[in-house]
Each structure stands twice: as structure tokens, then as C-alpha cells.
Symmetry: C2
Subunit: 381 residues, 2 copies
């Protein structure tokens, strides 16, 4: 195993050379790099490690300052010294997913043969592949059992995959606003986003890096469509309604007359600055393919048979992307498998994005669950 390359306080890049990574699609990646960040200190027993799994467009910076954007991390509501996921108490790990564009191996990476970046030659990856790579990282860090694996949305899919495939390493698991399989409607929205990217003349078959162009417009449209699904109708009505943007009357044109239009355009344009179009294709595809039951003969409970992991499942009332019904299906399967599971549906009008926002009930639930699990793990202070 190679030495850890330290890139400074803001994060580390580790090259996992010990093992080639065999992917679900049949291909092998010989050199997997995962860009990751840690917070806090691993205790002597190595029993206080928490792995946070990020969502589709997230990264390895849940807390602190993101060096790329100079903005706060995406989960500072929850992670930090003295916070709910207390970095004074826990050793917190977060890695950019395989296929991502935050420094981990993905379509932006150079091919081993020296012929430049992969682009669409990158093999299609799955949520299980992402977790396999994280598993190598946990080996690398010398941790046998993770105290907790948690995350929302696609992060929650990784949590479930961890519990299903590597349950012996997962003391507790918190899948939030997620599902054990991607729904037809969600595949549909992803397909719209992909077609928007593929329709962009600057996409150039995924080799836009050759010309230095980027499929900015297509990726922005993909983000705009997706962003609507992250919010609830009620939240949109409350935040924007039919309010006009810096004008008293409509202009009878195609400018952003309405605040919601201006907001969406801004979301699209700023996303393009921080995200890679090919990664967007690969990661959405990994989510589409996710279906734990299918990998267990259609029996979701079988995936969690004899699980000793403690689960805390959370959903939000206004989340229509990963509605509560998906969590209930999951909880029923966990119960059928005899697993230790608690489930909370949180009243919120903020839609899917609620897991990233100030949601006191979610925070209280997470806090209580972690305290109880910590006591069971012998971590109580």
C-alpha cells in the first residue's frame, strides 16, 4: 500500500493500490483513487469512526470550508465540533464517490495507457462499486468496524449497500430520504437530465476536454430539472410563488420575469462551475441501476438477513422524490429480516432537500439515535 498523500488540512487524496477494483460491469480498475477528508481523531479502539456518504452532487466536504468553492461544507448543520455528529467525539470520514469529479477516480481521470482522460470510456459503475471503493479506504485507514454509516438520498443508497454487503463492518446505519431501489419516475427524471447533456453540441461524445469546451447549457438544463425535484411544491410556492424578479410587471418576453426562473437559471449556471457533465451521467446511472432486492432474487428482506446493524430510517412528509412509501418498504423488509430498526417520518414542507437543511426533528432523532448507539458501543463519555 502506498503512503497517504496529504494535500493540506482541507483534505487528503489516497491512492488505493493494494487491490484492483473489480466492478459490477465486469471491468477492472487497476488504480483507484479516492479523495477523502477526515474530521476529529480515531480513538485507540478504532471504534468511533463514522462514514458519511454524499448525495449525487455532493463531495467529500460535509463540514469546514470547501477549498474549491470557499463556501461552508454541505452538512455543517449536522457535522462539526460539539455538533450532532460531534467531531470532538467521533472520527468522521467522507470520500468523494467513485465516478465523481471531486478528486476520486472517474471519467475525468487519465486512462492508464496515457491516452488522456477516460470520458465515456470510463466503465459504468454502480452504488455497490462506490461502496467497494469506500471499503478499500476503510481497510486503508485500519478500521475494522464503522460505528455508523450515514447519508441522505444517494448517500442513503450507499448506507443500505454497506449494510447489505458489508454488514459486519457496520455497527449502525442511518439511511435518510432514500430508497432500496430507484423508482420509475426517478429514472425518468435522470434520463431527461442525461438527454439534455447529450443534446448539447459541446458534449462532443464526452470528449469535450479535447476542445476545452464544456456542455454548459445541457448540464445546466439537467440541473434545473433535477433541482425542481429536490424541493416541494409548497416550498416553491412559499419561497417564490409568482413573485416577479426585480420588476413590477411582466415583460412579455422570455427573460426571467419570475423569481423562480431567475433562481433556477442561477442554480444551473453555478452548478456548471463545480460539476463535470460526464460524472453527472455516470452517477445518475449508478442510482438508476440501484435495486438491492433484485440482487437478492426480488426479496429485499433477504439482503439484510441476520443483520446485527442498528438502523435508523428517516423520511420527510413533503419529499416526492424519495417519498415515505419507499422508506416504509425498506422498514418492512428490515423488520422481516429481524433487524433492529427505528423509523421516523419527519413533518416538513421542504421536500427532498430537507435532509440538508435546518430540520430540528431530524437533528433530534439523529442525536438520540447516535447517543443510544454510542452507549451500546461503549462510546458514552
Amino acid at each position: 500500500m502506498s503512503a497517504i498523500k496529504v494535500d493540506g488540512d482541507e483534505g487528503q487524496t489516497v491512492r488505493l493500490e493494494r487491490a484492483a477494483l473489480q466492478l459490477d460491469c465486469g471491468a477492472t480498475l487497476d488504480h483507484v483513487e479516492l479523495a477523502y477528508r477526515t474530521y476529529g481523531t480515531l480513538n485507540k479502539d478504532k471504534s468511533n469512526a463514522i462514514l458519511i456518504c454524499h448525495a449525487l452532487t455532493g463531495d467529500q466536504h460535509p463540514a469546514g470550508i470547501n477549498p474549491l468553492t470557499d463556501k461552508e461544507g454541505w452538512w455543517t448543520q449536522v457535522v462539526g465540533p460539539g455538533s450532532i455528529i460531534d467531531t470532538d467525539k467521533y472520527f468522521v470520514i467522507c470520500s468523494n464517490v467513485l465516478g465523481g469529479c471531486g478528486g476520486s477516480t472517474g471519467p475525468q481521470s487519465d486512462k492508464p495507457d496515457g491516452s488522456g482522460p477516460y470520458g465515456l470510456d470510463f466503465p459504468v459503475i454502480t452504488i455497490a462499486d462506490m461502496v467497494r471503493a469506500q471499503n478499500l479506504l476503510i481497510d486503508h485507514l485500519g478500521i475494522e468496524t464503522l460505528f455508523c454509516v450515514l447519508g441522505g438520498s444517494m448517500g442513503g443508497m450507499q448506507v443500505l449497500q454497506w449494510a447489505a454487503a458489508h454488514g459486519e463492518r457496520v455497527f449502525s446505519a442511518v439511511p435518510i430520504a432514500t430508497s432500496a431501489r430507484h423508482s420509475s419516475q426517478n429514472i425518468a427524471f435522470h434520463e431527461v437530465g442525461r438527454q439534455a447533456i447529450l443534446a448539447d453540441a459541446d458534449f462532443e461524445g464526452g470528449r469535450y476536454f479535447d476542445s476545452g469546451n464544456r456542455p454548459r447549457k445541457g448540464l445546466a438544463v439537467a440541473r434545473m430539472a433535477a433541482h425542481i425535484t429536490y424541493l416541494s411544491e409548497a416550498a416553491l410556492q412559499r419561497k417564490f410563488g409568482r413573485n416577479l424578479q426585480d420588476r413590477d410587471e411582466v415583460t412579455y418576453g422570455f427573460d426571467a420575469d419570475f423569481q423562480i426562473e431567475s433562481y433556477l437559471r442561477h442554480q444551473g449556471m453555478s452548478f456548471v462551475e463545480r460539476f463535470d457533465a460526464n460524472s453527472y451521467l455516470y452517477i445518475t446511472r449508478a442510482m438508476d441501476y440501484f435495486d438491492i432486492a433484485a440482487e437478492n432474487g426480488g426479496n429485499l428482506a433477504a439482503a439484510f438477513k441476520d443483520s446485527e446493524t442498528r438502523f435508523c430510517v428517516m423520511s420527510f412528509t413533503s419529499d416526492w422524490l424519495f417519498p415515505t412509501s419507499e422508506s416504509i418498504t425498506l422498514v418492512r423488509a428490515l423488520n422481516a429480516a429481524g433487524a433492529n430498526v427505528s423509523f421516523v417520518e419527519i413533518e416538513s414542507d421542504k421536500g427532498h432537500d430537507a435532509f440538508l437543511l435546518d430540520e430540528p426533528e431530524m437533528h433530534a432523532t439523529l442525536s438520540g439515535f447516535l447517543a443510544s448507539a454510542a452507549a451500546a458501543r461503549g462510546l458514552a463519555s
Copy 2:
């Protein structure tokens, strides 16, 4: 007034030269053409006319064969000889909306100065403008009072506009799966569609007719995104689920592995064959601008003050584009205005598109309402 130009059994095109049309945006259209179709016979009293208003991508062919596609009209479930809207009894009129691409004046039309099609030089129109043009058509046909104005979705917006602006000409009105104002979320989805079209390199500032190219990919993406909103999650799950398309296993690629992807791609591609991208921009904008209350000082009830029109409002339980809450807001306003209104929320898992589909409860409601209104109008057989 010019003579009616008859194009054959399948439809007629009338040129309304009598009056220039003054639009909400301030511009004037000197020569408005509306392509329309009629079914049945106008009675001696001219008291049996029904105006059907079509939705965003509809046309003037609700019944019979559409000569453009050679397929059945879009509302043959409801309109025809002996059917619910019985063309043996009623004189049914349906016109392509102003701004449309089915033969009525729109961005595809030639400018009066002979410099070719309007493209984006066409003035931005509103639902009220569409109804103003229809109003001229009804004048032209020599009809004083319409027995009924009905339609779903954007068709329902026109129904409400008819009742609000020309109530004295509307004996009864059936707004289905609609709203008195376009919601923030709906504006957001429209904006995504427009940005997809504008992002297409073949759009050429709306002058794609010069090169003979068309923004096919952008328009297809717009349609795909919109199409998802027309269906419910339950309907997608029931129809497609995670079923694969003509294959036993996923291909680990970006082909249409899933049936839902294949279906959406087909919807996008076939839509491009029959619809014009500029019209899509204009008509979505008209819907966005629709807000009857705003035009009455924020008081929706005021728009229907002293209305003598009989209303039948219908919504569908699984319609999340125009949810029942929108209909309830409307019904409350109509009640506050002292209007004669009945309201039915129909149990259906088919989403917004339910109004176009086989929905016995909707058909029974419509049937009963028309029979009662016909009796009141002295039309009973």
C-alpha cells in the same frame, strides 16, 4: 368579414379580418387566422354550441381523424356521435389556439411585411389573447351564447378566462384539471423546457426555418421533462416500474435499458414531428402569465362577480401538476362570487393526463352536468 375557406371535411381555416386583435402585451395583430373544426349541426336557435379548448400541445381535432397524424383525435373518449359530448345533439367547435402551430396565427406565420415567418418577432400572447381570438371566431359563426365551454389543463384556463371576461356568452363552463393561476412549480418546469430549446444549437435565435434545421433535441428534452409531469408516480410504477426494454440484463451503458427511458425518448422524438419549438415557447409563456386573480386586484372571486354561468369543476386525486388544491381555491372563489358551481374530485392514479383517458367517473360527471344544463337551456330532447 371574409368568406370561410373550407379545407375539406377534416377542418376549416377562417381568416378573421373584421377586427385587428389588440393583445395584452400592447401589440396588435392585424390579420388573425384561426384554424378550427366543427362537428354536428348548429340548431336554429344557435343554442347548442359547445366550444372545446385544447391543452398546451393539443389541436383543433378532438374527434374524428387528425389529418396531420392520421390518428384519432385527442378526445374521442368524450366527443363524437352518441358520445358524452354528443355531436348528433351539439354543435361542437374546436380551434387551434393563437400562437399554436396547427394552422392558427403564430410564430410560424408570415409577417405582414413579407419578410418571412415571425419566429421570436411574434408578440408574446396570453390566455386572454387566445380567448379574444376565439371570441372573434364565435362572432364569425354568428353565435351569441355558447351552451358550454370546456377543456382540461390549459384548456381549462381558457374556460375560466371565457367565464371571467365574456361570461355573458357562456351558459355553462367545465374547467378540468386546471387552475386560476400557474403555480411556481409549473412555471419552473416550463422554464426548464424553454431553456432546453434555447440551448439547442439548431434553435438559431428562433430563426431555424432559415436554415431548414430544427431544434429537435432541445424540443424533445422539453417534451420528456413535461411528459413526466403529466403522469403520476403510481402510473409510472404500474406501467413501467423498473422493467427492462427488450433485454434481460442492464447493459452498463447509456442506452435505454429501462422501458421508461425508451418510452420517454419515443415521446420526445414523436412530439418533434408534430410540434413547433417557437410555439412551445409562446404557449408555455402564456400559461405562466395566467393569473386571473392578479387581474382583479388579487381577488379571484371578483373575477366571477354576478356570474350566471353554471360551473362544473373537476380534478384528479393523483394530478400533481394541477392538484386538487388549485380546484378548491377556484371553487371557493366561485362560491364567494355566488356562482352556480359543482365540484368533483375524481379518484384516479393516472395523474394529470387522466382527463384525456378512460375515466368513467369523469365521463359520468360530465354527462350528468351537460344533461342538467341542457334541460335548463331548453335543449332536452
